[in-house]
C-alpha cells in the first residue's frame, strides 16, 4: 500500500456550461480522514462521485488506491466503499438481506460473508435488528446500517458524502464516533464531505475547503485556523440590544475592521486587526449610543477561516451559480444580514 490513497490532478466536471468541479488537485494520504468542506453546491458531491467512478471526469485525472478512475474503474471499485448522501438500502428488505445482496456483488465467499455481516452488525450494535426490515428503523439506525453496508467489501478507502445530514444530535454523535472507529480499528482511509465546520474540525486530519468548484485552502484544521489568527487579528462578538444599521455602518467604516457579520438582531461578530482595535471599537459603539451588554473575545473557527478565504459566509452558493441537480427549493435562504 502506498502512502497516497487518492491523487486527484486537475479534476474537472462540467454539466453543459456549468463547471461543478474546476481543476481540483489534491492528495489524500493513506490512513487519514480527509474532509472536503464547503457549502451545498460547491462541488463536493460531484468530486466524490468522480473519485468513486460514478461520474466520468470531463477533464483531469485521479488515481484511487493506485488505480486510474477512468482506465481501471473496475479495479477502483474493488477497493472502495461509498456512503452516499441518499441511503443505499432497500426499505422492504431486512438489514441482513441488504448487506448480503451487496456482499454478493463483491464475490465474497458465502461463509466469509455471513461472518463478516455478523461482525459488522455487532460493530454498530444492531445484531438484534438484523432480520428486521429497514423501513421499521429510525433514521439513525438506518444510517448505521447504511455505513456498514459500505464496509462489506472491507474497503481500503471509504467515501462518506454528508454522513450526518438530517440526523438528530445523538445520531450525529454516534455516526461521527463510528467514522472515527472505522478509521482507527480498520485502518481505513476516509474521505468525507460536509458543510458543517464543527464536523470537519472534529473529525478530519486535513481539510480541503472547496468553493465554487475550486479548492481554496488545504491544511490541517489547526494550521487553517492559525493561518488567520497568527497575525494581530482578533475576533469579537458583541451583544447590543439596541443594535441598528447606523451602528453597523460606523464600525464597518473603521479602517482596522476587516469584517462585520450580524448573526441576529442583537449579536454582531467583528474581525479586526491592530493592538488598539478593541478600544477603537468600544469608542465607535459608545459614540453611536450602543448599549453593550456582553462582549466576547472569540477563538478563530473554521467558519472564520472560510469567511476570510472566500470572502463570503458558508451558505448555499446556489443563489450565485445553480448546480443543475438542485433546481428546487428556495435559493440560498438569507437568514442574516451581512454588512461589510
Amino acid at each position: 500500500m502506498s502512502d497516497i490513497a487518492i491523487n486527484a490532478s486537475n479534476l474537472t466536471k462540467k454539466f453543459g456550461d456549468f463547471t461543478a468541479v474546476d481543476h481540483v488537485t489534491f492528495q489524500v494520504k493513506t490512513g487519514e480522514i480527509f474532509g472536503l468542506l464547503g457549502p451545498n453546491g460547491a462541488g463536493k458531491s460531484t468530486a466524490i462521485r468522480m473519485l468513486s467512478t460514478l461520474s466520468v471526469p470531463t477533464e483531469g485525472s485521479a488515481t484511487v488506491a493506485g488505480f486510474d478512475v477512468k482506465k481501471a474503474d473496475g479495479k477502483v471499485r474493488e477497493h472502495i466503499g461509498l456512503v452516499s448522501e441518499k441511503m443505499i438500502m432497500y426499505d422492504e428488505l431486512t438489514a441482513r438481506e441488504n448487506l448480503r445482496l451487496f456482499g454478493e456483488l463483491y464475490d465474497i465467499p458465502k461463509d466469509v460473508l455471513s461472518k463478516r455481516i455478523a461482525k459488522l452488525l455487532s460493530f454498530v450494535r444492531m445484531e438484534q435488528w438484523a432480520d428486521h426490515r429497514i423501513d421499521t428503523f429510525s433514521t439513525g439506525m438506518k444510517q448505521r446500517i447504511n455505513v456498514i453496508r459500505a464496509l462489506v467489501n472491507q474497503p481500503e478507502i471509504l467515501f462518506l458524502d454528508e454522513p450526518t445530514l438530517g440526523l438528530d444530535p445523538q445520531s450525529t454523535a454516534e455516526i461521527r464516533e463510528l467514522v472515527r472507529r472505522i478509521n482507527i480499528e480498520n485502518r481505513t482511509t476516509i474521505i468525507l464531505t460536509t458543510h458543517m465546520m464543527a464536523e470537519a474540525d472534529m473529525l478530519c486530519d486535513r481539510i480541503g475547503i472547496i468553493d465554487h468548484g475550486k479548492i481554496v485552502a488545504l491544511d490541517t484544521p489547526g494550521n487553517l485556523k492559525r493561518s488567520i489568527s497568527g497575525t494581530d487579528t482578533t475576533f469579537f462578538e458583541f451583544e447590543i440590544p439596541n443594535l441598528d444599521t447606523n451602528t453597523l455602518m460606523s464600525i464597518k467604516s473603521i479602517g482596522s475592521v476587516k469584517s462585520v457579520v450580524q448573526d441576529d438582531p442583537t449579536h454582531v461578530k467583528v474581525t479586526s486587526s491592530g493592538d488598539d482595535s478593541f478600544d477603537i471599537l468600544i469608542d465607535a459603539l459608545r459614540k453611536n449610543g450602543a448599549q453593550i451588554r456582553t462582549v466576547r473575545n472569540l477563538e478563530p473557527s473554521l467558519e472564520d477561516v472560510f469567511l476570510r478565504i472566500t470572502g463570503h459566509e458558508v451558505r448555499d452558493s446556489v443563489a450565485k451559480s445553480p448546480a443543475p441537480e438542485r433546481k428546487h427549493g428556495p435559493p440560498g435562504m438569507r437568514s442574516n444580514k451581512r454588512v461589510r
Binding site: 468513486s52 467512478t53 460514478l54 461520474s55 466520468v56 473496475g74 479495479k75 471499485r77 474493488e78 472502495i80 461509498l82 452516499s84 448522501e85 441518499k86 441511503m87 443505499i88 438500502m89 432497500y90 422492504e92 428488505l93 438481506e97 445482496l101 451487496f102 454478493e104 456483488l105 463483491y106 464475490d107 426490515r133 453496508r149 467489501n153
Partner: protein, 396 residues
C-alpha cells in the same frame, strides 16, 4: 468478467427485485388480478354473435299474396321459429320504411326488416326476392347479428321454396321426391375444428400485450426509481458489470410478465374454453421472444428519461397506441389503410399475430417465421442502441 460471475450477479439483482416485490401482499394480488380482470372484461364487452339477446326488431310485411300463397308470411313464421330457438330478437310490427326509420331514431328498436309487396310474385316468377334490412348504425354489433339470423332463416326458407316449386311445377309431392336441391346453401367453415369465439381471437393478443405492459411499466420503475432513490449507485459502485444490472432488472421484470402471461393462458383455457391448437412450447418461446423485443425499447426510454415519472409517462404514451393498433382487440384488417401502415411498424402487431397463429390456428415454426424474424431484429436493433445509451446515462 467471466460469464459465470455475470450470471451470478444477474441472478442476485433479479432475486433482490423479486424479493422486494413479494414483500407487499397487495402487489402480488394485483399481479394475478390484473390479467384476470382484463380477460373477464374483454370477454364481456366484446360479445360474440350468439351472446346478443332480446334486441327489439320491427317487421313490416307488405307482401301481397299470389293465389293464396304468401312467401312473406312464411318468411316471417320461419323467422319467428328461428328466433324462438335463439331468443335474439323481440319482434314487433311496423308499417313500412318510414315507420321503422322513426322507431330506430326514437330508440324503440335497433333494427327492422321489410318484406316488399312483390316478394311472393318475384319468387314465383323465378326472380330473386329481395328483403330489406335496416339497422341502427350506432350499434355495430346489430348488423352482424341480423345477418346471422337472416342467413339461418333464408336457408330454411330456401328449402320451402324448393318444395313448393317442385310441387307446383312437376306435381311431385315431397314424400315422393328422391332428393331436394336447395336453391342456395350457406356454409361457414373454419380451418380448425369448432367455433372460434372472441376469446380465442383476443387471448393470444392480450398475452403478448400484458407481457409488453409489465416490461414497459416495470423497467422504468426498476431502473429510474432506483436512480432517483440513489440505490442504483450501490450497484454501480460495486465491481459488477453494467450488463449484470441490465440483465438482472430485465429478468425480474420478465418473470413478472411471464407470470401474468401464464395467468391469462390458464384462465383462457380453464374458464373461457379457449383451445390451444399449436404447441405450448412454441407459445412459451414466443412469450420470451416478445420480452426480448421490448427490452431494448424499455431501456432506451429509461436512459433518456431524467426521472421515473418522465419514463412512466413516455411508456404510457407509447403503450396505448400499441394496445389498440396492434390488432390485440380489433383485427387489423378492419382498420383504415393508413392505420394498418402504422400497425405494421409496431412490434406488438407481430407478437400478437404470431401468438394467434400458434394458439388459434395451430401454426408451426415455418408459418410464423416472418414475425419471429421481425421481433428478433427489432429487439437486437433497439438493444444495440439502448445499452451504450444506458451506460452513458449511468455515468453522468
Amino acid at each position: 468478467m467471466s460469464v459465470k460471475r455475470l450470471l451470478r450477479h444477474t441472478a442476485w439483482i433479479c432475486w433482490k427485485d423479486l424479493l422486494e416485490f413479494s414483500r407487499s401482499k397487495m402487489r402480488v394480488v394485483m399481479l394475478i388480478l390484473m390479467p384476470l380482470l382484463m380477460m373477464v372484461m374483454v370477454g364481456f364487452i366484446f360479445p360474440s354473435g350468439s351472446s346478443i339477446s332480446h334486441q327489439p326488431v320491427a317487421i313490416a310485411n307488405q307482401d301481397l299474396a299470389v293465389d293464396g300463397i304468401s312467401f312473406g308470411d312464411r318468411f316471417i313464421s320461419q323467422l319467428a321459429a328461428v328466433n324462438n330457438q335463439t331468443g335474439m330478437m323481440d319482434i314487433s310490427n311496423a308499417t313500412g320504411f318510414d315507420d321503422i326509420k322513426t322507431m330506430i331514431q326514437d330508440g324503440e328498436i335497433s333494427g327492422g326488416i321489410i318484406v316488399p309487396a312483390n316478394f311472393t310474385s318475384d319468387l314465383l316468377h323465378h326472380k330473386q326476392g329481395s328483403i330489406t334490412v335496416m339497422t341502427d348504425q350506432s350499434n355495430p354489433q346489430m348488423s352482424a347479428m341480423m345477418q346471422s339470423v337472416l342467413t339461418a332463416v333464408i336457408e330454411q326458407l330456401g328449402t320451402q321454396v324448393a318444395e313448393y316449386n317442385l310441387n307446383q311445377t312437376y306435381n311431385v309431392s315431397l314424400e315422393d321426391a328422391p332428393a331436394i336441391l336447395q336453391p342456395y346453401n350457406v356454409e361457414t367453415k373454419g380451418i380448425v375444428p369448432g367455433n372460434p369465439n372472441y376469446f380465442e381471437f383476443v387471448a393470444p393478443g392480450i398475452m403478448a400485450m400484458v407481457v409488453m405492459m409489465s416490461l414497459m411499466t416495470g423497467l422504468p420503475h426498476a431502473i429510474s426509481y432506483e436512480k432517483d432513490m440513489g440505490t442504483l449507485d450501490g450497484m454501480l459502485v460495486a465491481p459488477t458489470s453494467r450488463w449484470a444490472i441490465i440483465l438482472g432488472k430485465v429478468s425480474s421484470q420478465s418473470i413478472r410478465g411471464l407470470i401474468q402471461g401464464f395467468v391469462i393462458l390458464v384462465l383462457a383455457v380453464a374458464l373461457f374454453g379457449v383451445a390451444i391448437h399449436g404447441s405450448i412450447l412454441l407459445v412459451v418461446l414466443l412469450i420470451m421472444l416478445t420480452v426480448f423485443s421490448f427490452v431494448g425499447l424499455g431501456i432506451l426510454i429509461t436512459s433518456f428519461a431524467d426521472k421515473e415519472e418522465t419514463a412512466t409517462m413516455v411508456m404510457m404514451t407509447l403503450m396505448f397506441p400499441m394496445m389498440f393498433l396492434s390488432g390485440v382487440f380489433f383485427p387489423i384488417q378492419q382498420m383504415p389503410a393508413f392505420m394498418q401502415t402504422i400497425a405494421n411498424f409496431l412490434p406488438l402487431t407481430y407478437a400478437a399475430t404470431a401468438m394467434r397463429k400458434v394458439m388459434v390456428l395451430g401454426a408451426g415454426t415455418p408459418a410464423i417465421f416472418t414475425e419471429v424474424l421481425i421481433l428478433a431484429v427489432f429487439g437486437i436493433v433497439t438493444l444495440t442502441i439502448a445499452v451504450p445509451m444506458f451506460k452513458k446515462a449511468m455515468s453522468r
